[in-house]
């Protein structure tokens, strides 16, 4: 089983000794599900980046090769994290959190780069990444630490802990909003609400936060906090055909691409909508439409099913945890992936407003791949060590 890991034996001796045991204790259902999603995603990214002029897919593999590179880096980091004791990681959680916050702040300095209207990138040399993706990992770790280890020996988080959490949320949230990046803002909020709800914190707080979320959403809507294009996107959702060439364009084209796929799909590289570039951002935010068109219902429902399976595994792992900290790590990851998958697929199916969010494990995007893989690694590590029956 060690071969599965591929970890060099020249690494630390401790790691080597643990490797065989680790492999045994890993959640292989989860790994296989994620790997399957990654494989499908790789094909879809490839297909979405082949020009539609009838050229050979083998001639345009630039995105494919970069995506594969991201996956290799991601999986390596994932397994590395999984092999480290989560208690060790917890000790460094505040530092990881602080690093991500600092990176988020750096985005606003001249190091930051604006892409697609959002100042969300840091470019150093030829290397560019999105700190907001890493902020998700940082927030999960920080909230798990704060909520999973209540002060004053309490058995569950009390008001004080919740307030600390709010502060921990507020800093990255404010930075992400200032980019502005509505999608990541929502994901951070979802992670917070998910973890808080399942942390055992006072019900008053949980309910309060949920109400706050609702009121906040209302205020945002009502007091013009949203940009006009964002309002239009929500309005579009209500009636997608009202303005097919305007704001409803993305949503409408996504529906056409998915709907025209039919039960069996047009076949990989055969989608006329995909290769006519009718749907924008097709290798990132709208990758699911490629699955819908080219792989049809069969392929697209498999993607949905795999996400269901992954979430089920994450929540089962959480259920199995003795201690609140690892449990909350799993809950955090589940909130993140679940929310992002629901919003992303929902947007491609025209049931959720268009929001710029990648589909975890499927979309193209280096930082997003690495960040999700890090989170997966955390959960795998939890399962391998904190099940109370090891």
């Amino acid at each position: 089983m060690t071969t599965h890991l591929g970890a060099p034996r020249t690494r630390r001796a401790e790691f080597g000794r643990n490797a065989a045991g680790l492999a045994r204790r890993l959640d292989w259902t989860l790994i296989v599900s994620v790997a399957a999603l990654c494989a499908i995603g790789t094909l879809l990214v490839w297909s979405a980046t082949v020009p539609g002029d009838g050229s050979d897919p083998l001639d345009s593999t630039e995105h494919l090769r970069r995506h594969l590179f991201h996956l290799v880096v991601g999986w390596t980091l994932c397994l590395a994290v999984a092999s480290v004791d989560h208690r060790t990681i917890r000790a460094y959680a505040p530092i990881a959190y602080l690093v991500t916050v600092v990176l988020l702040a750096l985005v606003l300095t001249p190091l930051g780069e604006t892409i697609n209207g959002s100042r969300g990138w840091i470019v150093i040399g030829g290397f560019q990444f999105q700190p907001s993706e890493l902020a998700k990992v940082g927030l999960v770790l920080m909230l798990a630490t704060l909520l999973g280890e209540p002060r004053d020996g309490e058995a569950r988080p009390m008001t004080r802990d919740v307030l600390f959490c709010l502060v921990a949320l507020a800093v990255p949230l404010a930075l992400v909003m200032s980019q502005p990046d509505l999608g990541t803002t929502l994901v951070l909020g979802a992670i917070f609400l998910g973890m808080l709800t399942l942390s055992g914190a006072p019900v008053v707080w949980v309910a309060g936060m949920l109400v706050c979320g609702a009121v906040g959403a209302f205020c945002v809507w009502f007091f013009d906090v949203l940009k006009p294009y964002q309002v239009a996107r929500i309005a579009t959702l209500m009636n997608p055909t009202a303005d097919p060439q305007g704001t409803g364009y993305n949503s409408n084209q996504a529906l056409i691409a998915v709907g025209s796929g039919g039960f069996n799909g047009t076949g990989l590289f055969q989608g006329e909508q995909t290769h006519g570039q009718f749907v924008p951002e097709q290798h990132t935010d709208f990758i699911f439409t490629v699955a819908g068109e080219e792989l049809g219902f069969v392929g697209a429902v498999l993607v949905i099913g795999l996400f269901g399976l992954i979430l089920w595994r994450l929540l089962r792992t959480a259920q199995g945890c003795e201690k609140p900290y690892p449990r909350l790590l799993c809950v955090g990851a589940a909130s993140w992936f679940g929310f992002q998958a629901l919003i992303n697929i929902g947007m491609c199916l025209g049931v959720v407003p268009v929001t710029g969010l990648p589909l975890p494990f499927v979309s193209y995007g280096g930082t997003a791949v690495v960040a999700s893989m890090l989170a997966l690694g955390l959960v795998l590590g939890v399962r391998s060590r904190d099940r109370g029956f090891v």
Binding site: G52, R156, L198, G200, A257, G262, F278, V301, Q319
Partner: protein, 714 residues
């Protein structure tokens, strides 16, 4: 794997977490099941819908216009054909795909074309509700015309420097060409950009309209538009989101329009126009001779051999689209309304040429052809005095002579008597209206049915018409009859009083068909109006033994490669309601007019022994205008082939102006020496007959598979 141990002493927080986790799992299953259901809905029941939308997205239909058919004369000589013109056009999507929306390319191009870059950019815009001309009315998938009719050197420069002009191309386009200049201009008509109304009315246009092509608006271009137009081809292109063409999915080539072979003989047409123009010039300056028409019909088929209308215009004005100012001028009275075909759209009182109808009405209503009728210098009927032409009397004469010398008083009497027989002012029961009914039987008062648009009916007035007219004008007349004309009274009180009286009379008894109206009707005056074509057609019917045709310009439609020929058969509209005996009597009378009658002077020296001409002059009066000159005729009298009607508006008497014009046309057709030629003014020796033996070509001109046309040798 082992189940987690359940511990009763677990902290409550953990329990809450556990319960929450179960709820979370249920939530996940529910939400993802919902997504799967939505996916199913989109991809399975709605598949067809979205597949169609995808098709519309991805497929762009491009209409490839067909080459319009030519319009040929009977021997194959082109009246209208196509010529190639070099057009510089831009690829909309390629230019708009450039960083600067093609600004640089267009500004470079503007220097070569010598057009301002702003103008080119305007032409590049797509027309829309908020974008008006200059803009591109066609599809963005068609080449957008930036400049038409460019010099070959300019086109060559653009083609050679293709690298400097990405998205710009120079191509040859087929455009309408008028090799005969202004000849037969009103007859062939013209093309104009299609209007929304035309698009809505014609389905064949809607399905193949490109947004830039034109439609026949007048002449045979309009009446045979559907056949000349052909069937546009369709090219379905696969395009991407940026409009770039990825592939050609299907292609149906256009079916070129059919050529229209007409009955027109270009030689006779040109001669008719020349004779008309010269005749009108001769009538001046004594007469205004402001406009005229000459119609030559083949009495055997109703085919139109020539149809001249003056003033005319040069169809070159349609080239490259006419501007509104020129168009308005073409329709203005000052310019003589050259677009108007006097032959089918001009209406004039027919004067004495109308007597053929009046004679027939009398003969068919109990007036003997063997009796004699008084032809005094003047007659007094219902208290009003009516003069003969120049007040000259001829004593008791036959109806034959009444036609030959054109005696008005004979017909005045006939008209008056028939009016009285119908009950005069107060008819009892249904009046017979013999005169008006006979006129309608000759085809007057209704369109002849020629294959030309906008033909007018003319007018045959009778009691019923009078009543309708009275009802329509009554309100105004009664108002004027009561309140008078105060605005006229300011300057001319006596005239205002007269007008008031007239209005009052009209108001009270305007419905009455009065004696003077019936009397004037009998000699084609008063409210009678006919078109030159109606008159020619009526005389053709007299000539051919009573068959009233629907005149036809078109003789056949031939496909562009000559493989399909659709003959346009002669159409018989009606028979004259006249007995053979009366018809024969009429023919004999008409035959004498150019020998001993009112046209004898005009036909002096004409070889009547070779081709005997039958005809009737007419000199029609309209209040406030000079007398209009008519000659209606046919020849040869013993075996009629052609009917010719000539009108010169305000051109003097029929014998003086119109008859010599008709004579010149006959001379040309049969190849007789004209008096002018005999005096050595032009030409040498007897001219070649334009229609040898008076026969139109038996065959159609041959159109070869390669599209070339063999002109028939005459």
């Amino acid at each position: 794997m082992r189940a987690a141990p359940v511990d009763d002493f677990e902290p409550p927080g953990r329990r809450l977490g556990r319960a929450g986790l179960v709820i979370a799992q249920v939530l996940v299953v529910t939400l993802f099941a919902f997504l799967a259901a939505r996916l199913w809905y989109l991809q399975v029941p709605m598949w067809d819908h979205y597949r169609e939308m995808a098709m519309a997205n991805h497929h762009q239909q491009l209409i490839v216009p067909a080459t319009r058919g030519q319009i040929l004369d009977a021997t194959g000589r082109p009246l209208v054909n196509n010529r190639t013109e070099l057009v510089v056009s831009g690829d909309y999507h390629e230019l708009m795909g450039m960083k600067d929306n093609g600004r640089k390319v267009l500004s470079d191009l503007s220097e070569v074309l010598d057009v301002s870059p702003e103008k080119l950019q305007q032409r590049m815009r797509l027309c829309g509700p908020e974008v008006s001309r200059p803009c591109w009315p066609g599809s963005p998938y068609q080449p957008v015309t930036l400049a038409d009719d460019v010099e070959p050197s300019v086109a060559l420069q653009i083609m050679e420097r293709a690298g400097d002009f990405p998205g710009i191309s120079a191509q040859a386009h087929a455009v309408r060409s008028y090799p005969q200049g202004g000849h037969a201009a009103q007859l062939v008509g013209y093309l104009q950009p299609i209007t929304q109304e035309e698009l809505e009315a014609r389905e064949d246009l809607r399905t193949q309209f490109t947004g830039i092509d034109q439609v026949g608006r007048d002449g045979v271009e309009a009446s045979y538009d559907a056949q000349l137009r052909g069937d546009a081809g369709k090219r379905v292109l696969g395009v991407n989101n940026h409009g770039e063409v990825m592939e050609v999915i299907s292609e149906t080539p256009p079916e070129p329009g059919m050529h229209l072979v007409t009955h027109i003989d270009l030689g006779v047409q040109k001669l008719a126009e020349k004779a008309l123009a010269e005749g009108m010039a001769k009538a001046r300056p004594r007469y205004k001779a402001d406009s005229g028409a000459a119609v030559v019909l083949d009495v055997r088929t109703g085919g139109v051999v020539a149809m001249a209308s003056l003033p005319t215009y040069d169809p070159a004005i349609w080239r490259g689209g006419i501007d509104q100012e020129t168009f308005d001028e073409m329709l203005s009275e000052e310019a003589g309304e050259p677009l108007l075909s006097r032959a089918v759209q001009g209406t004039y009182p027919p004067g004495s040429t109308f007597k053929v109808s009046s004679l027939a009405a009398a003969a068919e209503n109990g007036y003997s052809l063997r009796s004699t009728y008084a032809c005094p210098g003047s007659v007094n009927l219902a208290g009003q005095n009516y003069q003969n032409y120049a007040g000259q009397g001829h004593g008791p004469i036959s109806l034959h002579k009444a036609i030959v010398v054109s005696c008005n008083t004979v017909f005045y009497n006939l008209g008056y008597q028939m009016w009285k027989k119908d009950g005069g002012l107060y008819p009892e029961g249904e009046p017979e209206e013999a005169m008006a009914n006979m006129a309608r039987g000759f085809g007057f008062g209704s369109p002849t049915g020629i294959d030309l648009p906008y033909e007018t009916s003319g007018r045959i007035p009778d009691r019923e018409w009078k009543r309708t007219f009275w009802q329509e004008t009554r309100e105004n007349n009664c108002h004027r009859g009561e309140h008078g004309y105060p605005e006229v009274a300011k300057t001319d009180p006596s005239r205002a009083a007269y007008l008031k009286l007239l209005a009052y009379e009209q108001c009270v008894e305007g419905f009455q068909w009065r004696a003077n109206e019936a009397v004037n009707f009998s000699i084609g005056q008063g409210d009678v109006l006919v078109t030159p074509l109606q008159l020619a057609n009526a005389y053709a019917a007299v000539a051919n033994g009573g068959t009233l045709h629907e005149p036809r310009i078109g003789r056949a439609l031939v496909s562009a490669d000559g493989s399909k020929v659709k003959e346009i058969e002669p159409v018989v509209r009606d028979r004259l309601p006249v007995s053979d005996k009366t018809l024969e009597y009429l023919q004999k009378a008409l035959t004498e007019v150019p020998k001993k009658g009112t046209a004898a002077g005009a036909f002096a020296g004409f070889p009547q022994d070779k081709v005997s001409v039958a005809g009737k002059t007419g000199s029609a009066d309209v209040r406030g205008r000079q007398v209009s000159s008519w000659f209606a005729s046919y020849a040869p009298a013993d075996d009629p082939q052609f009917a010719i009607a000539v009108l010169v508006s305000q051109g003097g008497t029929g014998g003086m102006t119109a008859a010599p014009i008709a004579r010149e046309i006959y001379e040309g057709i049969y190849g007789f020496e004209s008096p002018g030629q005999a005096e050595g003014e032009g030409g040498s020796g007897p001219a070649e007959p334009l229609l040898p033996g008076g026969e139109p070509p038996e065959d159609l001109p041959a159109i070869r598979p390669d599209g070339s046309i063999d002109v028939l040798d005459r």
